[in-house]
Structure formats: structure tokens, C-alpha cells
Symmetry: C2
Subunit: 339 residues, 2 copies
């Protein structure tokens, strides 16, 4: 018999070909109910032969379960997010799920649109890395399990969240600089107003306080553009040097910004780490490939991805109730040539 | 009246609230048929008020059109692919589409699974960057428009494809090295067996031939692991130096591999570009951040993404027939410190 690839064979046709009932075909496909191994094998062989692919859209409408999840990320070109996303993908793919990645570009409207879009596609769960400080609860129409990663803007909601210890991260970075004798530590943070940048500033402030160093607002800088902009960070340090602003260290709350700062210091022949010390955040390519290599704070992206994936999976499969569990993962100081 | 966010309001309920028929509500939502501007505005206001979100899964089943597309990429953590993907996302989002990104990890089984998964979700089109040399046509069950990017493994099929001129890219890279006096040009390619790596080898061979330099198989190296492995490239050059293999240049068919080669050369105190010259491929962070900066071949990812997006969009919207159009984009040589 000719196998016409363009024609989609129905469950009924498969049943006829196998000489069994439609219910039996369904049991074989879904691996449920009473069915002998032999019958199951026979049905699956016929299905394989005819390349029957269940119309998952129709199936998910009936079951509201589609063996797929969505991941919303602010920027897949940012190494930190792409690492997390790839790990999530591996976790769920191994469990038989398709993973649909949506890039929100840190845009609140896009985040909302993608949330709705994933929701309407009836995915079984969503992992959400938001770029915002606050998002209202009207995002969610269906009662869909979702877990927040890295940022936690849902103060209105009671949702589970897995995050790296950003406060501790910038605390230990600042502490290192203080212990190496720095007193005038300039900071560069991104101005997307998200929660993780907020936490990093907090850790810096805490460390200064503990070591009785006064906080100087003139040393706090923000990037206006996308958080990726290292050229903007370079310009900030260029201007600080022009204006003779007094600083003996730079703590950039991202490696990209640290790289920009380093470029300015090198261009202006500033001795690093002799005259100015430098710390970044993320342990991304920017800090590893730079010359000199940049001291930074490593976040354990593998652990972050695996814990949040497991949490979502447990909720989706009913092993666990959806609570407002808050998991905080420790961070590590990576000392390199700039300190 | 209380607006209960958890309850999804039906089209019938909206019709009752507006005092119009269900057909009129449908016309307002879908912007079709005869309906006065005033009625339309009124219906849309009520919908907005009640946060009615049409169940897109049900809708797409009826219409087989879901205002969404899928993008299958081998590795979103690779800058080349993430740049293309982000540009595609922007293109389609601006046209009102959701873009679902799937990471195939260069795994043929995963590519197939994601293709089927996107297909069953009834996306309107697929942009496909394959990691394979060959894929059979039984991938496609539905008659869904799809456009191949960068790699073109579908010799059985007649599909449109947009690609950068890889043969020309490695030709001009090799030619630069020859013109600078190199005669023993070692190559490192990734061994994923994909079409783009194959083309790069071809361009290298063509240049040698045109300049009457014999091809020496002992200078051709392949990475066994994932194409990202720069440590493997470093090890290859380490071994070549140990064995005193004679070479005066390295052409690595990816910047990551070039970075690995550079690390080995620096470690072994080889004068760059004095004794050995180095060229990479991609113009990624690896070549830009390295010290010395690495000469490389830039592929125009923006143009690549925009042309393939436009092509898919035109086919999806019926402006254009699906043909086997082959678009090849020129590449640019970026000279830096290693040549």
C-alpha cells in the first residue's frame, strides 16, 4: 500500500487498519487503560508506518494539556539568560516536553503579549524571567502554573520564585574592594529598573555601611539604554576621568558594563588594578575574555535552571502544590586580574 | 459591575452586554464583514473591559491560522544565531505575530520533534536553521510554509533559502593570508557536518587552487565536540606546536575556534601576526574582545534575518508563491590585529 505523506491518517483509519477499536488506538497512543503489549506494539507500528501525528491542538483543547511549556526571557543574546534557557530546554525535552522560548526584549507589553500567547496555545506551564519591577496579576487568564526566575516583580501575587542571591553578590564584591583598600567605589547599574539591579545596589550599600564608608551619590551611575550597552559604560568612565571625579574602584553590576569601563580605563592609561580596581557581575564572556580578565560574581545558572524547572514540573504533574516558595541560590566571587 | 479576572467571558456574554448579535461581536474582533465604526468601538470597549481573550487554540483549529510562527535554531547561546533570531522576532512581532523559538542543540531528532511540535500547534510558518547536512522531506506533515536560513540541507525538497556566502567568506579570508605571504595555512572546522562548514572548506580550497598552493591534508583539522568548543581548538594547536607541524597561519571557521587557537599561540609565546597569522569567522564577541583582536569574516545577520522573514511573511500572506528561491548575501572581511 502506498504511504501518502501529505495525507494525515485519522485514528479511525488506524483502528480499521489494525482491526481494533478507536478506544484501543487511543489507549496505545496515550499509554493508558488496559491494552496488551502485543496490541499496543501493533498499533504503534501502524501509526509509525503512516506517520500519524495526533493533532495536538485538538488534543490539548480536550485535555488542556499539551506536553509543552513556555519560557519568557528578556534577552536571549545575553549569556546569562541563554545559559538558563538552554538548561531549562534540556530538562523539559528529556521529560518529553516541547519548550517554546519567547524573547520579551525587556518590554512590558511584549511580556504580556507573550504570556497571553503562550496561555492561548495551552502550554502546561510557564517559566518567566521578567524585565520589570512590577507586573499586575491581570497577566494571567487561565489558571496556569508558572514559576518566576531571577527577578520577582509579583508582589501582588503569591508565586514561587528561584533567584540568585544578588544582595550577597554585590556585598562580597564591594567587600573585596574595601578589603583591598578602596574607599571611593563607583557603581554602574543598568536602568531597566528591574529587581535584580535593585538588589545589587542594596548589597553595595549594605557593605559600605558595615565598613563605615559613607555612601556618595556622586559615585552612583545608571545606564540609560539597554542593559547590554558597554559603550555607554565606557562613556560614563570617560566623562568621570575628564571631570577628575575621585574614585579608586568601579563595581559594574554587569560584566558588559565592566568591560566598557575597562575599555575607558585602558584608553586613558589608568593602571589596573594599581590605581583603579574593577569588579563585574555575571561571569560572562566579557569578563573572561577581557584583557586583563575581570573579577566578577558568578551566578550558578545550571542550578537556577534546574531548581526552577523541577519546581514547575512538580506543580504541573501534581506532585507539589503551587506555593509562594522562595528559593535563593548562593553566588561565588571569581577573583581575576582587575583586583 | 465587578470584573472577575479569573472568569473568561464568552462571545455570547459579550453580545448580550453590547446588545448585538454574536456574529457582530465576531466581526468586530476579526475586523471583517459589515459593521459600523461605532458598533465596533463599543464591542471592543466591552471586550477590553472584560479582558476577553479569544481562545486562540480553538480559533486556530477552525482557521488553521494562529498569528504565530516558529523559529528552529541550533544554539541560541551562539551569538550568530541569537542575533538572527532576535531580528526575526522583532520583524514578526511588529506585524502582530508571536514568535516561538525552539533550540534544537544541533540534534536531528530534536529538530524533527520541534518541527512536528510547532506544526501541531498550527503556527503559520517556520523559519528553520538546521544543524544537519541532510534531512528527508518526511519532516513535514502539514503543508506549512517554511524558509531555510544559513544552511540548506533539503536537496530532496524545493524550498526557499537565505544564506551568507560562506564559500566567498573563506575564499577572501584565505586570500588575505596568501597575499600576506602565508603558504602553510592550517584550518580548524567544526565537525557537525553541516552545510556551512562544508562551504567554508570549499572556499579555502578554491583560494589555494587559484594561487597554486598545494592542499595539504595534514593542515586540515576538525573539532570533534560541539562547534562551540574553543578548548578543543586550543588543544589542537598545542599538539601541532609539540609535533613541530609547519604552519604560518591558522584559518578557524568560527571565532570561538580562532579564540582557542589564539590562546594556544599566546601560551606558547608565538609572535602574532609576526610568525603566525590568524583569521576567524563570524565577527562575534570572541574575535572582538580577544587580545590581540582577531581578523574575521562578518556575516550580515540583520539582512539575513530580514530577507528570510520577509520571504516567509510574503508566502504566508499569499503575496508570493513558495518557490525554491536561493538568496545569497555577500560577506565582509574585517581586518584586525592578528593579520
Amino acid at each position: 500500500m502506498q504511504n501518502d505523506q501529505n495525507k494525515k491518517i485519522s485514528m479511525k483509519e488506524i483502528a480499521v487498519l489494525c482491526g481494533v477499536s478507536v478506544a484501543t488506538v487511543s489507549r496505545a497512543i496515550n499509554n493508558t487503560g488496559r491494552i496488551s503489549d502485543e496490541t499496543k506494539r501493533h498499533v504503534l507500528e501502524i501509526i509509525d508506518q503512516y506517520d500519524y501525528s495526533a493533532n495536538m491542538a485538538a488534543k490539548s483543547l480536550r485535555e488542556s494539556r499539551s506536553k509543552s511549556i513556555g519560557v519568557i526571557v528578556p534577552d536571549i543574546s545575553n549569556e546569562f539568560f541563554s545559559k538558563i534557557t538552554l538548561k531549562i530546554e534540556t530538562f523539559f525535552y528529556e521529560k518529553g516536553y516541547s519548550v517554546f522560548i519567547c524573547n520579551s526584549a525587556n518590554d512590558p507589553e511584549k511580556e504580556k503579549a507573550y504570556f497571553k500567547s503562550l496561555d492561548s496555545k495551552l502550554v502546561d506551564g510557564i517559566l518567566f524571567i521578567s524585565g520589570q519591577k512590577n507586573i499586575s496579576k491581570d497577566l494571567i487568564s487561565r489558571n496556569i502554573p508558572f514559576v518566576c526566575i531571577d527577578r520577582y516583580p509579583y508582589h501582588e501575587l503569591n508565586l514561587p520564585n528561584v533567584t540568585c542571591d544578588g544582595i550577597m553578590g554585590s556585598y562580597i564584591g564591594t567587600e573585596l574592594l574595601i578589603k583591598k583598600g578602596c574607599k571611593r567605589i563607583l557603581t554602574i547599574r543598568s536602568n531597566t529598573g528591574n529587581y535584580s539591579q535593585h538588589k545589587r545596589l542594596k548589597g553595595y550599600e549594605n557593605a559600605l555601611k558595615d565598613y563605615s564608608i559613607p555612601l556618595d551619590d556622586n559615585l552612583l551611575f545608571s545606564l540609560k539604554g539597554p542593559q547590554s550597552s558597554y559603550i555607554e559604560a565606557e562613556n560614563i568612565i570617560d566623562r568621570c576621568l575628564e571631570k577628575n571625579i575621585d574614585f579608586d574602584a568601579i563595581f559594574a553590576f554587569s560584566d558588559r558594563a565592566a568591560y566598557g569601563a575597562l575599555t575607558s580605563l585602558k584608553k586613558n592609561n589608568i593602571d589596573i588594578p594599581g590605581k583603579v580596581k574593577l569588579v563585574g557581575f555575571d561571569d560572562s564572556l566579557y569578563s573572561r575574555l577581557a584583557s586583563p580578565t575581570i573579577t566578577t560574581i558568578r551566578q550558578d545558572t545550571d542550578l537556577l535552571a534546574n531548581l526552577s524547572s523541577q519546581l514547575l514540573y512538580d506543580v504541573m504533574t501534581g506532585t507539589k502544590e503551587l506555593t509562594n516558595e522562595q528559593i535563593v541560590i548562593p553566588v561565588t566571587l571569581i577573583e581575576r586580574e582587575t583586583t
